[in-house]
């Protein structure tokens, strides 16, 4: 147990440089931005004096390293700056994010659930029926599902379930639980296809292993060999990529939320980009980056629990 705790602490410490790099990249890219955010908030006929004043107010006139230091300092206190968009001018970015966060989390949670509860059984099924027509049709489905860009999938689902069948609301959140079905499906389906493929190849690989033959040679029932031993081993590679999955869901959420006008962080990012609201973009991307880092951390810890071969010491 002590091993496990020190392992977790080590993993957390290793995540710190990643977070720092994320803040640096986020800061750097907006520092280098050619467009001047100040010009955007001010009316077109503002005098150079006014511009200068505002620049000082937001600290845009200071040298790079000072700006970055201040940025980090404020970040440590949870201050992500103020929005410079016209609609939400001077509101705290952190407040905007906290307001939107639950919606994104909700979407990602349901999306992940869909993706694993579809992908894992389908992959196992496909592996067990290897090279049959059932396996082939599952493979064709996954090929198409993962080649499909999420916004295009979203549009198709919208067209089918909302426009023609009229079962589900087109966009927004007014429909209650019904409204989350389409966005979550859009988000989950592509990843479900990948999970399926991964689970299938992992399962096939495991079935070729000596220990599976060994277990069979002990007279264990086929169901136990497959669903206890083979499945547990085959799950390992799938767990290692949970971190990458969460990263994918974060990226996917930006697109999906835009398609379905789902009021989460992703929609906030796209709206802020069109409004040149850089502090908000900065904040959102940082928070999304945290998701990725957290996701990888969770995957690492989960993996240590499942695979006894991970060296904890």
């Amino acid at each position: 147990m002590a091993d496990l705790i020190s392992y977790v602490i080590r993993k957390i410490l290793l995540a710190i440089p990643v977070i720092l790099l994320a803040t640096f990249i986020v800061f750097l890219m907006l520092y280098l931005t050619p467009g001047d955010p100040i010009v955007n908030i001010l009316p077109p006929h503002a005098s150079p004096d006014d511009i200068q004043k505002l620049r000082e107010k937001y600290g845009f006139d200071q040298p790079f390293i000072v700006q970055y230091g201040k940025f980090l300092y404020r970040l440590a206190q949870g201050d992500l700056g103020q929005s410079v968009s016209r609609q939400t001018l001077n509101l705290d970015v952190s407040d905007l994010i906290i307001q939107r966060l639950p919606k994104t989390l909700e979407l990602m949670a349901i999306g992940l659930t869909i993706s694993y509860s579809l992908g894992i059984p389908l992959g196992v099924y496909s592996a067990l029926k290897q090279n049959s027509w059932k396996d082939r049709s599952v493979m064709v489905f996954t090929l198409v599902a993962y080649a499909m860009p999420s916004f295009w999938l979203g549009i198709l689902l919208m067209l089918l379930f909302a426009v023609y069948l009229g079962w589900l609301p087109i966009e927004g959140t007014v429909g209650g639980f019904k409204s989350i079905i389409l966005p979550a499906m859009t988000l989950g389906l592509g990843n479900a296809a990948l999970t399926t493929r991964m689970m299938r190849s992992s399962m096939l690989e495991v079935q070729r292993q000596d220990y599976i033959t060994q277990l069979r040679s002990r007279g264990l029932p086929e169901s136990e060999v497959i669903f206890k031993h083979a499945l547990k081993n085959a799950m390992l590679p799938v767990i290692t990529v949970i971190g990458l999955d969460i990263g994918w869901f974060v990226a996917g959420a930006v697109v999906v939320e835009t398609v379905f006008s789902w009021p989460g962080l992703g929609l906030l990012v796209t709206n802020s980009i069109t409004n040149y609201d850089y502090p908000t973009v900065q904040g959102c991307i940082l928070v999304l980056a945290m998701f990725v880092v957290l996701g990888n951390l969770v995957a690492d810890i989960l993996y240590a629990f499942v695979d006894p071969r991970v060296r904890l010491g």
Partner: protein, 316 residues
């Protein structure tokens, strides 16, 4: 973006072909028997041909300077089978959009943009990735540690999120999209290259050529690189599919290619409000987009099967 996970599954387990080398003719022959390669390649060839010859093809101007109100959202002629009123609008096989422009010709010109962006972006990230990966994997030690950490950082971040951030920061333009994708996507190539370089480094023939006094750089390019070509080709093919996805997603979000340049993502975005009224605007663009991505994915998957010696064997 999403394929990065698939790549884990598809490429990291790649083992080098040991023993007797196959001739290229053998590979081509096996490739031509692989259905995925054949289908993928045919799709790609058709798309590339259409894109390259778009200016000389007898199709409508994708960005006419004048807008004819009477041409707006005309259904394709053959949509009469679905009960659409097609009194006018012959010659537009995919119909027209909300500004009366021919969707078919815009789809083809969109292919031009998408393929150009994707190919260039993959090329640049390939160059960055190969150079960094080779350097890290070959020299090892501190150099490797620094580069490998950077690779891992970029690898854990979803390429799309990075590209979105860069594209937003740099401002929307074709060059910036290429730049953004290149900076975000190289980590995969570098990771692959580093792994292969580490593996190849251990193999005897490199040891042998070093013993013969060959220079490091020479060894890297004459021995390590050619040995990694097969997985690189596969990854590049899948990479193009990825890059097309990222590019179209960016332009869907409005940070990619800017109108009036025809771009698939933006065309789909414009199609959403017209889903009920004029479904052809989004549908055909999306289909062609899907087909193109599918083509590159199929080619990549198929090539992997052809080139990966592990896949040979007991199948009935």
């Amino acid at each position: 973006m999403r394929l990065r996970k698939g790549l884990n599954d598809r490429l990291l387990g790649w083992k080098m072909a040991g023993g007797a080398r196959e001739t290229i003719a053998d590979m081509i022959q096996r490739g031509s028997r692989n259905k995925m390669v054949v289908i993928g390649l045919s799709v790609i060839v058709v798309m590339v041909a259409l894109a390259v010859f778009a200016p000389v093809l007898p199709i409508a101007d994708p960005t006419p300077s004048e807008i004819h109100p009477e041409d707006q959202t005309l259904p394709p002629h053959w949509f009469r089978f679905f009960g659409y009123n097609v009194s006018k609008g012959d010659g537009h096989i995919f119909g027209t959009d909300e500004l009366g422009r021919d969707v078919f010709s815009r789809v083809i010109w969109g292919a031009r943009v998408s393929l150009l962006v994707a190919t260039l972006a993959v090329f640049f990230s390939l160059v960055i990735g190969v150079l960094l990966g080779l350097t890290a994997g070959y020299f090892g030690g501190k150099v490797d540690y620094i580069i490998a950490s950077t690779i891992d950082l970029f690898w854990t971040f979803p390429a799309f999120l990075l590209a979105l951030a860069f594209a937003a920061a740099l401002g929307p333009s074709l060059n910036n999209v290429i730049l953004a994708i290149s900076i975000s996507y190289w980590a995969g190539f570098a990771r692959l290259m580093r792994g292969q370089a580490l593996a190849v480094r251990e193999r005897l023939f490199v040891e042998a050529s070093r013993a013969l006094g060959a220079k490091n750089i020479r060894i890297m390019f004459t021995h390590v690189l050619p040995n990694c070509l097969a997985p690189l080709i596969v990854w590049a093919s899948i990479g193009v599919a990825d890059a097309i996805t990222i590019e179209s997603s960016l332009s869907f979000l409005g940070v990619g290619t800017q109108p009036p340049t025809p771009s698939w993502g933006y065309m789909l975005y414009r199609g959403i409000p017209y889903l009920e009224e004029a479904p052809w605007m989004a549908t055909f663009t999306g289909l062609v987009l899907l087909l193109t991505i599918l083509g590159f994915n199929l080619l990549g998957d198929g090539l992997r099967d052809v080139l990966d010696p592990r896949m040979k064997g007991l199948r009935r």
